[in-house]
Chain length 362, copies 2
Amino acid sequence: MSSYEVYYLIMKIAIIGAGYMGAAFSWPLRDNGHEVNLVGTHLDGEIIHACETTRIHPKLKRPLPEGTRVFPLSRIDEALEGVEVIVSGVNSFGIPWIAEILTPRVRSIHKILSLTKGLDITSEGRVRHLLQVITENFPEDRKREVPVAAIGGPCIAGELAGRRQTCVVFGAEDPTVGTFFKKTCETNYYHIWTTTDIFSLEVSVALKNAYALGVGIAYGMLDQQGGMDQSNASMHNLASAMFAEGTWEIAQFLKRTGGNPEFAYTLPGAGDLYVTTMGGRSVRMGRLLGEGYSFQEALEQMKGETLEAVEIIRGVARWIAFQDQQGQLYRDEFPLMRSLVRTVVEGKPLELDIREWFGGAY
Amino acid sequence: MSSYEVYYLIMKIAIIGAGYMGAAFSWPLRDNGHEVNLVGTHLDGEIIHACETTRIHPKLKRPLPEGTRVFPLSRIDEALEGVEVIVSGVNSFGIPWIAEILTPRVRSIHKILSLTKGLDITSEGRVRHLLQVITENFPEDRKREVPVAAIGGPCIAGELAGRRQTCVVFGAEDPTVGTFFKKTCETNYYHIWTTTDIFSLEVSVALKNAYALGVGIAYGMLDQQGGMDQSNASMHNLASAMFAEGTWEIAQFLKRTGGNPEFAYTLPGAGDLYVTTMGGRSVRMGRLLGEGYSFQEALEQMKGETLEAVEIIRGVARWIAFQDQQGQLYRDEFPLMRSLVRTVVEGKPLELDIREWFGGAY
């Protein structure tokens, strides 16, 4: 037996970050009987105020589950008192912030679960998953003692909060940690698989945002050409090719970085890409680019929105630049990502090198 | 140089089958300057009549490309006179018929390209691609001499006819044959990759119909629960998990049958599955099952429609039954396909074993 056999106990859990996903995560936790303290970040003031006064979460547009306690950031230390599990519910832009919040507060009794999808890619092409960033300044003993895990897979927050059937993957280096979190969070609508390959999990779910933007481009090109033609031809063929080039490039990136390309055809790859193409900001940004707007113009139209797709394209741009500089990549590798980099990072007009797609097997 | 260096020449080509895809294929061929004879099957009488009198193809709702000549089946031998390339444009139900048509007519000068997606699976679990069925009764010398190829990948016929960007894969055992057909058919909107692995190509594009039906089930379950809830939660999470279980099971099937699982994350797998989920009969059948209709009731509602998804489920049911009988499969392998088999083949109520998905790594 591992040290985590306490899983059937009711635990005291704090979720930090009260946006869509952080708040939605209170549903499976409360349904399992855990005590849940939902703590707003410095950006969540209005959300917390609304929850305190109306119980309705203003983004999810639902009352929080019965018994969920909400806390403004000013009361975070009270919210963390006696908790065993800390859930980080910030988005990828909040990672430096959550690291700062947790580093002085983490105790050996804690276990940390991160809901954030993303990668940290340095200008030297070093690719890290976000658990590594969150914990990098933890005191050495805490780094050793505190179990950490991350979640990937197709999960729209509003559907989780609606108790719709959802399948996700929890990644933790130690399989007993994955099992612990699975037992803690699993319900009859929230189904959890576990993996010890956090890297492949996180690469897949981070890159999918960029490729969902790609799928959006196809429909933007359709709009730009006046929508469906007189015989109702859409652009699903191109969108599908974009989708497949996306899963293909995720697999190639995994091969290039020592990951497992099989993630491209399961929940974190194909599944998470599919759910992301069903709507949301990445697709909208792609659509604007496909319509012919420059990246700056598209950004202007989406002012104030969190664009994780743009961040991951910028990150992969650094990786590609470094690999190219080292002579490690052929120029025809990652052709869709290179198109996205030219438009999003270098501000150039969109140009798709369709004939370079699928490994230049053309 | 291969014997196919004549590719830049204008050729005389007959397409047999004047339905959606057969007719749509005249666009890239005519755009490349080939002479095109479009021959209706015994089921295409009305289409041919409409094309002869109005030039408008009644299903594609467009005039055929300038210069395409249409022929009723009664004039097939006239249509085949002097042709170098024969394109089989029937659907999978037409395979025995096209084999009967071609077997006595095939000449050593011919090259055959098949647009049909599907597999032939016997009760002894033998899995063959359809080129093997089409050519099995050819005279021995013709079997040796006549190059054959098949097409897979995401291609809605109406979009091809609308000259929308489309990416497909041509499979031929001899790579020079693949290249020949690529040069013959490629345009600035119809992009072609080639593979010698016809088996993996055809397994992927055939199985995707069954899994598109799976994705439809999610949205049928949504309808059955009254559609989106008061907070707009849909069922994209479940649809995405279905999608991913589909690409996963395609990969597992390829592994089990000596194919290449990488096809699951490129055009024939993820790409063709994506395009199929964007609408069409497989999704509609799934939707009815998800709403709670029995298979017989759903079939009644879709009377007269060609249901290739049902055929492939029946075929894979034979393969699974044989493998099970031989003790070759674990009972938790192919859980989504087994659910589809129970409902579609055995007439049982729909039951999803979500917790068995993804290799039982649950």
